[in-house]
């Protein structure tokens, strides 16, 4: 879908149209089937499991944080509503929102500490919470709660005709699908996809990974609570802890989401339409003789989906649709002969057009002669090893500062300390007069410190353009603006021919250029470039040098780490030499490379070695 609308990537009302159509169809089907309880019950189950799975998808599919304890929120919603209804006579129509609030608070309590954990640890940590709640509720005597029949009918969400519940559930489905669809094509959704693929790079691009994950977790929990309410009123006459906090809830949701497709809008609904009727049918046919047959189906579905269809049903459908347009764009461009001959490599010549405006504002008050970055007495230890010892550097504004030093001299550590991946043990880092030591990387990025990585950290399952957009979101909240900006930068950097290709298939050169484009899209005042020439041939290295000079012209200060001293001398205005975590030289390139310390530590060591072995 994104490939079609060139100017328009944000959601308009018509992108919600399919959701409305599907929901109205659902209502019609339910109405036409008639009041038969059994079929309506299955229909209700399909819709409710689709709702729960889509809600689960927000945190586990889009943000990639698989919550094994998701039943916590379904249960919280159900219990809050039923308890309020039973003991305080609060209408479930109100109670369900109370359930949402409680679920969101629960998500906050669970998420604040656990979201710092990764992968499987996070999954296991979350499963502990329903397991704690379960026995506590039982102990409080709330193991079984009969939902009182008040006879108020509609106002207490109690209907004889199952079709009303289906109607409510479909309304809920519409809400959830619209939410998911909106998230998918918003800045928030891009942030989630980015942090799912590469948290380091996402932080480097100004995304607060932690708060974005927490946000997704709370949204997910709130929607799950709504499902819990309708589930308990529509299907259960007696609410039991096992029915809403049990592991089987998790299994259903997980199977449906994975079979349908993680991080897709339609996947969970499609999978629910397939798995739920099969499960119910088998249960009805063989359930009395083979009581576990339904769960066997879900177990087999889980295993088969992971092994043979990791993208899920919708993922496969979407991929087969996506392939066509993306090829078309490239071939059409080639036919038009725009940059066909020069191809991608020569496209980099376009950098003459390159005009990134530095962000003004904070810069205004500062004297042009003030250093943009002042590093004062930084210490950094790894265990007992001193990676940086009392390093002080002043980085002149609007110049290229080169940092050289042998392997393990602390160059990359210095970058990691500057943009917040590592907190220093001692010392200050003044960026435009503000101490940024120990700030998080996304804050550094917001303040205007861009970064490219030694080992390129692109979001490999996103297109080139989407990668650049992630950078552009650092300045623009609006998706269309970010898209336009990313498109412009991709063109200037000569990546437009590859704009709609997945970043995973890029060559080394293209990957490096993508890293530059993405970092520039964040509109940095200071750009940290970590070994840009590693892995490139001399011709390409020269071009990188030219690109860096162009970047300087647009008013951005650049710090470059490089191994190839020769190339660095050509582009740097100022140079710093590091050895064993200490600054051993500083000055113009000529001064530094003729400094005895540097010759000793860097050039001399190599030189001597060569002579010693021969």
């Amino acid at each position: 879908m994104k490939t079609e609308g060139k100017q328009q990537v944000s959601v308009k009302w018509n992108s919600y149209l399919p959701i409305f159509v599907v929901c109205i169809m659902g209502v019609l089907i339910s109405y036409l089937i008639g009041p038969a309880r059994y079929t309506q019950r299955i229909l209700l189950l399909i819709v409710l499991w689709a709702v729960a799975s889509s809600s689960f998808n927000v945190i586990s599919g889009y943000a990639g944080q698989v919550v094994f304890g998701y039943m916590m929120f379904v249960g919280t919603g159900a219990y809050t509503t039923v308890l309020l209804f039973k003991f305080l006579a609060v209408s479930p129509w109100l109670g369900m929102w109370a359930g949402v609030v409680v679920a969101i608070l629960t998500a906050l309590v669970i998420g604040l500490p656990t979201l710092r954990l990764h992968g499987a640890f996070f999954a296991i940590a979350t499963i502990a919470f329903p397991l704690i709640t379960f026995p506590i509720l039982n102990h409080l005597g709330l193991e079984e709660l009969s939902i009182p029949f008040t006879g108020h009918g509609a106002s207490s969400m109690q209907f004889r005709d199952m079709r009303f519940y289906v109607l409510i559930a479909i309304a809920l489905l519409a809400v959830v699908l619209i939410t998911v669809r909106t998230i998918e094509s918003s800045r928030f959704g891009f942030a989630l996809r980015a942090l799912k693929q590469n948290e380091t790079a996402a932080e480097g691009m100004g995304i607060n990974t932690y708060s974005n994950k927490l946000m997704a977790f709370m949204i997910s929990a709130g929607l799950g609570a709504l499902m819990g309410t309708v589930y308990s009123f529509g299907l259960l006459y007696i609410l039991t802890t096992n029915a809403v906090f049990g592991l089987f809830i998790m299994v259903r949701i997980l199977s449906i989401t994975i079979v349908g497709g993680m991080a897709t809008v339609w996947g969970p609904l499609i999978a629910a339409c397939i798995l739920v009727p099969i499960g119910e049918f088998l249960n009805a046919q063989f359930g009395d003789r083979y009581p576990g047959v339904q769960d066997v189906i879900y177990g087999v579905a889980l295993i088969a989906a992971i092994l043979y269809m990791p993208e899920g049903i919708w993922g496969m459908i979407r991929r087969s649709f996506r392939r066509l347009p993306s090829k078309l764009t490239v071939s059409m461009k080639l036919a038009a002969g725009e940059d066909s001959e020069q191809g991608i490599v020569d496209g980099a010549r376009d950098y003459d057009l390159f005009k990134v405006k530095p962000i003004q504002g904070v810069t205004m008050g500062n004297d042009i002669n003030d250093p943009i970055l002042k590093i004062e007495g930084i210490d950094k230890y790894f265990g007992g090893v001193c990676a940086l010892g009392n390093v002080s550097i002043e980085v002149p504004r609007g110049k290229v500062t080169g940092i050289i030093g042998p392997n393990g001299s602390g160059k990359t550590t210095l970058f990691n300390v500057i943009n917040g991946f590592l907190p220093p043990e001692k010392g200050r880092i003044l960026f435009e007069g503000r101490n940024i030591a120990s700030l998080k990387p996304h804050v550094a990025s917001r303040l205007g410190i861009g970064r490219t990585f030694q080992i390129p950290q692109v979001f490999s399952n996103m297109t080139v353009l989407e990668n650049v957009m992630i950078g552009a979101f650092n300045r623009w909240g609006n998706v269309d603006k970010a898209y336009a900006e990313a498109d412009k930068i991709a063109q200037q950097m000569g990546l437009s021919g590859r704009a709609y290709d997945q970043a995973v298939g890029l060559t080394m050169w293209e990957t490096k250029i993508l890293e530059f484009s993405r970092a520039l899209a964040t509109q940095p005042k200071l750009l940290l470039v970590d070994e840009p020439m590693a892995g490139l041939n001399p011709e390409e290295s020269n071009r990188i040098g030219e690109i860096i000079r162009v970047i300087i012209k647009s008013g951005i200060t650049v710090i470059v780490i490089e191994h190839v001293v020769q190339s660095l001398v050509k582009i740097a205005d100022w140079m710093v030499g590091l050895d064993h975590g200490r600054k051993v030289a500083e000055g113009t390139p000529q001064q530094v490379i003729s400094d005895p310390h540097i010759i000793e530590a860097y050039l001399g060591a190599k030189w001597r070695e060569r002579h010693a072995t021969s």
Binding site: A128, D295, L302
Partner: protein, 293 residues
């Protein structure tokens, strides 16, 4: 005082039974960096087959079954690794994918047991199941005590196997640096399958031992799987000695918590400890990050 000492002793006995299973889990995690969610289900399977059925069919004593289970479950684990897990290991999402696929597998095992052998709770009836020794007024269950010593033997054996044999060295090396191993001509998939097999073998034996004094049903695994995770996380995930320590601590917490909270909330205490540990010290008690086996 007597009841306190009795609780400590039973904590150690229970803890040891968790430790055996946790050792298998830690071995698998340590080597392959994956979490086996179906771990407890393997133990439950061993409670039925060989333990329960061998006793009923041929009158084979469960303690002998424990040793029969070793090769059987080694083979089962080996196959599981080869057929299921090998395909997804090494992919970027391997950690969560394996967690999910083993969750699916655990469902299969427990529900197939339910279908095949019914959900009725089972109990092993041997002379030692209920028999006790009494020291003063302290009662010690005999089956649990025998199990304790066999468990110690099993863990010791696993330890020797890993530290004194060439295969053990290959497994430890694969845990440390899989890429380096591949360059040294070690067949990683084979080593992984061996490690998985070993982990499941000791778990199967542990299940047999547990069956001698605990009633069980097809879904018994659900109640202990998180306890096993808790033990392993307490012990620092990858170390077998850590899992032993973690299992003992969990056993003690479970048994001693009755002095503080109602007995129904025993497991709440355990899971609270788990959550606290994940917050405060995710690297576990022994806490050497990345330590192999």
């Amino acid at each position: 005082m007597g009841i306190f000492i009795e609780s400590i002793i039973s904590g150690i006995l229970i803890g040891m039974s968790y430790a055996v299973l946790a050792a298998g889990l830690a071995l698998i995690f340590g080597v392959m960096k994956i979490i086996n969610f179906a771990h407890a289900e393997f133990a439950v399977l061993a409670m039925y087959f060989p333990t329960y059925w061998f006793l009923n069919w041929w009158g084979i004593d469960p303690f002998i079954s424990a040793f029969i289970a070793l090769p059987l479950f080694f083979f089962l684990g080996y196959l599981t690794q080869r057929l299921l897990i090998e395909r997804i290991i090494g992919t970027p999402e391997a950690e969560t994918s394996t967690l999910i696929i083993t969750l699916g597998f655990s469902l299969l095992i427990s529900n197939l047991i339910l279908i095949g052998w019914s959900g009725a709770p089972r109990i092993i009836n041997q002379p030692y199941t209920m028999a006790t020794w009494s020291i003063g007024n302290i009662l010690i269950n005999r089956a649990q005590t025998y199990s304790l010593f066999i468990s110690l033997g099993l863990i010791g054996g696993l330890f020797l196997l890993l530290n004194k044999t060439l295969i053990g060295k290959a497994i430890k090396a694969a845990a440390d640096d899989p890429e380096g191993c591949a360059y040294m001509g070690i067949n990683l998939h084979f080593v992984y399958a061996l490690a998985f097999g070993l982990g499941i073998a000791i778990t199967g034996a542990g299940g047999c031992l547990m069956a001698t004094y605990r009633p069980f049903n097809p879904f018994f695994g659900e109640t202990i799987v998180i306890i096993l995770f808790a033990s392993v996380i307490l012990g620092g995930m990858t170390s077998i000695m850590g899992a032993l320590l973690g299992g003992l601590i969990i056993g003690l917490v479970q048994q001693l918590s009755v002095f503080v909270v109602p007995i129904a909330l025993q497991n709440v205490a355990v899971f609270t400890i788990l959550v606290l540990f994940l917050y405060v010290r995710p690297q576990g008690i022994l806490g050497k990050k990345g330590r192999a086996v």
